[in-house]
Amino acid sequence: MVLTDLQPGKKAIITNLSLMNEKLKQRLIDMGVHEGEEVCLKCTMPFGGPVMVEVSGQCICLRRKEAACIGVE
């Protein structure tokens, strides 16, 4: 399952970041988004716009197609 499969408001554990673009992955890891963390999908913007997620108490916004590279469980 990937992050964008979650219903808004639902939580999951990040299991796989290896499919992501290298630069983006680095930035997300720096922000505290890594494997084993709990992630909550807060909301999605219309027309395939970005998604807002909460990881360890902070909100981060990233694009949907990139969120779709994050494996969760």
Partner: protein, 668 residues
């Protein structure tokens, strides 16, 4: 004087702390990437210099502003590090702390936002953190300045802590560090272990730094060997990951000892506001509504009446008083004319718009300080993506509404170089506050009943042109590499009145200062040019040098609807600063106040040509200061000339279409 460097994650209050430490005022806001250049100040007790640096998540720079921080570490002398840490985000912040500790310089931690952490239900044992890292930890409230005195005392205390923090990274990596350390040149203040670790992690700046000094081949082969060893154990692993993991474990251990969760986190009002302003359907309408209110307040509801009052004062009491004073002093006619028709008309004509500009700046400051800015980037990202940019590019654009110069600088936070360049090139199309007096003058004369709407349409025109050109450039000139977008959404904060005022004043004072320099100088020069001509002094305006210069442009401008030498002359002088267009017109048309000027202009412009003129002023060449900043930020003359050239072309095309198209549709 020794130098202390201020490091920390983005949006943790570095600049607020800096301001409180030094008693100065630097620009603050509630979004990541407010500070893009280092700023130097002197500690209140005069004992050391403090350097404020852009916020970073780690020492590996991904964007230009982050590069400034890493470069500082590598190349500049300093005696100690002040690391500001957000208590409510300890886990993430401490990664940077570890990397800074490994650098080997004395370090003090300033623990900020404890109040926020407590509201989240966390209790933090400050002494315990200090024990874990062997460095002093001082709790502070950066916004109010609480705890700053103690911090200053600790930082400038004569006997500084011996820095003795080391973290062991396991056999394979430690062995590699040892080997690399042997290859490194003699120490020059930078810890060899730190260099080795950063090299192993793949920090590009550190690689570049080492390349200049030693042969990199042995180092690279050591790194490859470790990388292979790690992959033998874990196929998807890397050195970077292992190092990160070990730090993560250490931090988790520290947090376990120091933090007690008192209660579960409550539903915060940030979440409540976000539920509305980043709502799927309401997000964009709310943003547009906010902008609309901003324009209505600036032009209709509040700004215009205030500007009128000021105008009455300048044209009435002030002019009369000066005139009487000059007569009493026995000033010559020449001097009297220069002061009253040149300086008062030119500078006063621009200063009249101060209230409107301050209202606009107040709104922009509110946007920056409340935390809404990052949400705007999020709401706009989908649109920006379709034209080859990302939502983050929208932040410099909003700042550009105030002034293009800081807007161009703010583009540093954009990670991808091409997206950054594109943003810089298109930024001058954002209608800055200097263009506002031009609009205010013309809408007052020709569009009395729809002032805000007409001005709003010009702002939108600027944005639309920028977006279309972005699409054009990103598919032709600057084919985009993979575009990335990720942004942190900070919690909302009620802006403090004082901060809001300071931030507004800080932006506005540039405008006032310009009135005293560029506009003052420009007004004197223009008046002189209009006063002298080939025929001698005090010629009729139409025979002056100014008319001759402006006249060259008039035939070229005729198809746009304003083929007069007056328009030509004011556009040339507008390159200095766009407000000068208004000063020039005030002087040329010899108007006592804005009302007379507006009456006079009806002879030279029609509503249609006035709109065409405003559109031309909006789009044609960026002002002198912006051009200089573009040159500096792109480090290229080519792009600087490009930004001037394309703007002239597009301004001509659009003004032409507006005027000729409007005529076809039956407007006049």
């Amino acid at each position: 004087m020794s130098q202390i460097a201020l490091f920390g994650n983005p949006n943790t209050g570095k600049t607020s702390l800096f301001n409180n430490l030094t008693g100065s005022y630097e620009y603050v806001g509630n979004w990541s990437g407010v500070t893009v250049e280092k700023k130097v100040g002197i500690l209140r007790n005069q004992k050391a210099r403090v350097v404020d640096l852009p916020g970073i998540y780690s020492l590996h720079p991904l964007s230009r502003d982050e590069g400034v921080a890493t470069d500082f570490l590598l190349t500049e002398p300093f005696s100690a590090i002040l690391n500001i840490v957000d208590a409510s985000q300890l886990k993430r912040n401490l990664h940077l702390t570890i990397q800074l500790l490994e650098f080997g310089k004395p370090l003090v931690i300033a623990l900020n936002m404890i109040d926020v952490a407590e509201r989240h239900g966390m209790k933090i044992d400050i002494n315990k953190i200090s024990e874990c890292f062997h460095v002093p930890v001082i709790p502070v409230v950066a916004r109010s300045g609480k705890g700053v005195e103690e911090l200053v005392d600790v930082m400038t205390a004569p006997q500084q802590y011996e820095q003795r923090f080391t973290l062991s990274y396991g056999e394979a990596i430690e062995a590699a560090i040892e080997k690399i350390v042997c290859c490194l040149p003699e120490p020059n203040g930078i810890s060899k272990r730190w260099l080795a670790l950063q090299f192993l992690e793949g920090n590009e700046r550190v690689c570049e730094y080492l390349q200049g000094q030693i042969d990199m081949k042995p180092l690279v082969s050591i790194r490859e060997m470790v990388e292979e060893n790690i992959r033998l154990i874990q196929p998807t692993g890397s050195i970077r990951q292992s190092i990160h993991h070990i730090r993560e474990m250490f931090i988790a251990d520290v947090l376990k000892q120091t933090i007690t969760i008192a209660r579960e986190k409550a539903y915060t009002w940030t979440e409540k506001i976000d539920a509305i302003v980043t709502n799927k359907y309401l997000g964009i309408p709310i943003f547009l509504l906010f902008m609309y209110i901003m324009f209505m307040l600036t032009f209709d509801w509040l700004g215009s009446p205030l500007a009128d009052l000021l105008d009455q004062f300048f044209s009435g009491p002030l002019t009369n008083m000066l005139s009487r004073l000059l007569s009493a002093l026995g000033a010559s006619v020449f001097l009297k004319e220069l002061i009253l028709n040149g300086i008062v008309a030119g500078v006063g004509g621009v200063l009249v718009f101060v209230p409107q500009i301050f209202i606009l700046f107040l709104f922009i400051s509110f946007l920056e300080d409340s935390g809404y800015m990052a949400r705007v980037a999020m709401v706009m990202d989908r649109l920006m993506e379709s034209i080859g940019l990302n939502g983050k590019a929208f932040i410099p654009m909003i700042i550009g509404f105030g002034c293009n110069v800081p807007g161009v600088m703010a583009a540093r936070t954009i990670e991808q170089p091409r997206e950054r360049l594109l943003t810089i090139l298109l930024l001058p199309l954002m209608s800055c506050s200097a263009r506002l007096p031009v609009y205010a003058l013309f809408v007052g004369a020709f569009f009395k009943s729809h002032q805000a709407l007409v001005v709003f349409s010009l702002y939108i025109l600027g944005i639309v042109v920028a977006l279309l050109l972005a699409k054009l450039f990103s598919t032709t000139l600057l084919k985009n590499e993979h575009s990335v977008f990720v942004i942190e959404l900070p919690p909302y904060r009620m802006p403090q009145l004082l901060t809001l005022w300071r931030s507004t004043w800080d932006k506005g004072k540039g405008f006032v200062r310009k009135a005293g320099t560029f506009i003052f100088g420009g007004s004197v020069a223009i008046w002189l040019l209009s006063y002298v001509g080939p025929g001698g002094l005090n010629v009729s305006m139409d025979d002056s040098f100014l008319a001759a210069i402006g006249g060259v442009l008039a035939p070229i401008l005729a198809p746009l609807g304003f083929g007069t030498w007056q328009a030509g002359a004011s556009l040339i002088t507008g390159f200095l600063a766009k407000e000068v267009v208004v000063s020039t017109m005030n002087i040329i048309y010899h108007a006592k106040d804005a009302d007379t000027l507006q009456g006079l202009m009806a002879h030279y412009f029609t509503p249609l040509s006035a709109f065409s003129f405003m559109a031309f002023v909006l789009l044609y060449v960026p002002c002198l200061a912006t051009v200089a900043t573009i040159r500096k930020e792109t480090a290229s003359n080519k792009w600087m000339f490009f930004s001037i050239g394309y703007a002239l072309c597009i301004a001509y095309i659009i003004a032409f279409s507006i005027y000729e198209g409007g005529k076809l549709l039956g407007f006049s």
